[in-house]
Symmetry: C2
Subunit: 173 residues, 2 copies
């Protein structure tokens, strides 16, 4: 099957699955306490869940940035017209609320992004997208949400976009 160009008869509705480390491993890290290496610090008053995401910034004058993204809620079913990727850096999203968000990613193929896979986060989960992974834009569910975002600053073009020949629909189960 040509993963990059589906025939019109093929199903273009993607149903989001629960976000798990195993399913998401090809695309990046899940930032959460559950299942993470941890140890007590500060005389036992704090638990450090340690080194949860690989920050990967490259290219000229590369440096990690810390930002806040304030995103509007997405409507369901989501009409997914395009995905993007960042060839020079990883991008971590940690929600500042317990509200879930949709995570949409694609494998890469010689013909461009494969059909999307969609995940829905559990409360408290964030993600870190590996450098150059195709993904949808930030899509909180139900209500607007703020995220702390760790990504890449520097020189060079760090954005590539792909518009699908036909949009996909992404929905919850």
């Amino acid at each position: 099957m040509n993963q990059g160009r589906l025939r019109p008869s093929e199903n273009r509705t993607i149903v989001a699955k629960p976000l798990t480390r195993a399913a998401f491993a090809p695309f990046g890290d899940i930032i959460e306490k559950d299942g993470a290496q941890n140890f007590a610090i500060n005389d036992g008053n704090c638990v450090r869940y340690h080194d949860l995401a690989s920050v990967d910034v490259t290219g000229p004058a590369a440096r990690p940035l810390i930002n806040i993204f304030a995103a509007q809620a997405c409507a369901l079913p989501l009409e997914l017209k395009m995905v993007e990727r960042h060839p020079l850096g990883s991008q971590a999203f940690m929600p500042l609320s317990r509200n879930p968000f949709l995570v949409i990613v694609c494998h890469d193929t010689p013909l461009g992004p494969a059909p999307p896979q969609a995940f829905v986060t559990a409360p408290g989960q964030g993600i870190n997208l590996k450098r150059n992974v195709w993904h949808g834009v930030l899509t909180p569910l139900y209500e607007a949400a703020d995220f702390v975002v760790v990504d890449r600053g520097g020189d060079g073009d760090n954005l590539e976009e792909h518009v699908f020949a036909q949009p996909f629909r992404v929905d919850l189960p």
Copy 2:
């Protein structure tokens, strides 16, 4: 006045002040939307509050880490026995709730840390401590809280502690 060694008669109670960019500038960055450079992205569905903190990691094999710290609430007045600093890296703390936390920092002197200054955050504020700034450990108010923390991994000794000859008390106004 010898800032490092107070006489017993001197006041050892520190009253926390509201956290503002101006007051905190010598110690680091405030991570918040208010007053930050920002621009719309994602077809106007998201606002990016851009580059809010200077991540500064140095020394052998230095790399930025993303962690979650789960901290117990501190009791007030806080008995501050010691402060610490990290000579090889900055350390950013962004709360994953709207609950405020205490921020305790000290200027450095040739005799060690000066008497502490204390700040209380507004909902939604995080901080980034500059490399090598003396600070108290993470102290959320009222209830336990999780924070996303961006600090430094690598080789070398990145922790220095200073125990005060007498503890300070830190309280709210």
